[in-house]
Symmetry: D2
Subunit: 100 residues, 4 copies
Amino acid sequence: MKLIADISIIPLGVGLSLSPYVAACEKVLAEAGLAPRLHANGTDVEGDWDEVMAALKRCHEALHAMGVPRIATNLRLGTRVDRESSMDAKLASVREKLGE
Amino acid sequence: MKLIADISIIPLGVGLSLSPYVAACEKVLAEAGLAPRLHANGTDVEGDWDEVMAALKRCHEALHAMGVPRIATNLRLGTRVDRESSMDAKLASVREKLGE
Amino acid sequence: MKLIADISIIPLGVGLSLSPYVAACEKVLAEAGLAPRLHANGTDVEGDWDEVMAALKRCHEALHAMGVPRIATNLRLGTRVDRESSMDAKLASVREKLGE
Amino acid sequence: MKLIADISIIPLGVGLSLSPYVAACEKVLAEAGLAPRLHANGTDVEGDWDEVMAALKRCHEALHAMGVPRIATNLRLGTRVDRESSMDAKLASVREKLGE
């Protein structure tokens, strides 16, 4: 089952500089072959459900291993079975309506 | 790794009556032994990361098998390694501060 | 416009004990007459769009006034215009399908 | 109060082609001067709290006026008072840690 996901991972108990942890998670997602697309409030990925979810779990494990005591993650997940979908196709569809 | 999660699953392409699908997911979560707690905008569960995530995947599979072509899920995930946590402990802690 | 919302407010930079801040926000929501319903991963409220959103803003302001330097909130919002809706009606509809 | 937000707006009861509605909301956000940044699972904006929230309300109103009976929106909100922040600064900070 193909999954399109938007991952926003918030480490707690490590102060206000969150970028080292966001970067660590990016590396985990990239090493999983998920070609993460960082945006201002999260990271978009797509791939097989099990692979995306396994990589997300490794993000949590990696951050805890870095000393993060608590993590709050917000995830947006999309699956569909009527036809193939992709992040590029979603973006192209909206941009076409915008006349871009 | 213990996971506390809040699952909001939105079936698309099946009209406006979503409760049959929410109920189907509740059954999947209950059968997984996760003791789901339905609230007005989602369902809270807690358990082992792998068990919660496997049950969530079965929710998506069950809804697609019911004819739902597309699903958008919002998940809130919490993990912590500094001490044990539970949904009851979280609720008790807030209620104590409220003087309840 | 009637709004049903689920508010999860996460204070950053204040350590791991978040319950005093969650409780402060509960008080703001209660004082706004929104009858907040605390659950394990957020708080459900319903009311007029403007009133709910004004109370949410006061939550952010109240937490910053308590010394919270940074806040990350996750919101689920629902509006509908085809008929009246309520949190109790949503819950009753799912519970009926569950045979409860 | 400066707000950085990530808006994911899901129209219900209009079938599976959501891009016309996402595009309509983009136009509302752009007309509000918020310079929305579309990504694969939402739209990032930044601005004054009241302006962002007023534009979001107009998105819901515009979609309902287009015939959407029900809308489910997921919002990520960030505020901070310790220093200025921006979406560009957030992105630059993560990319620096990635060595990009």
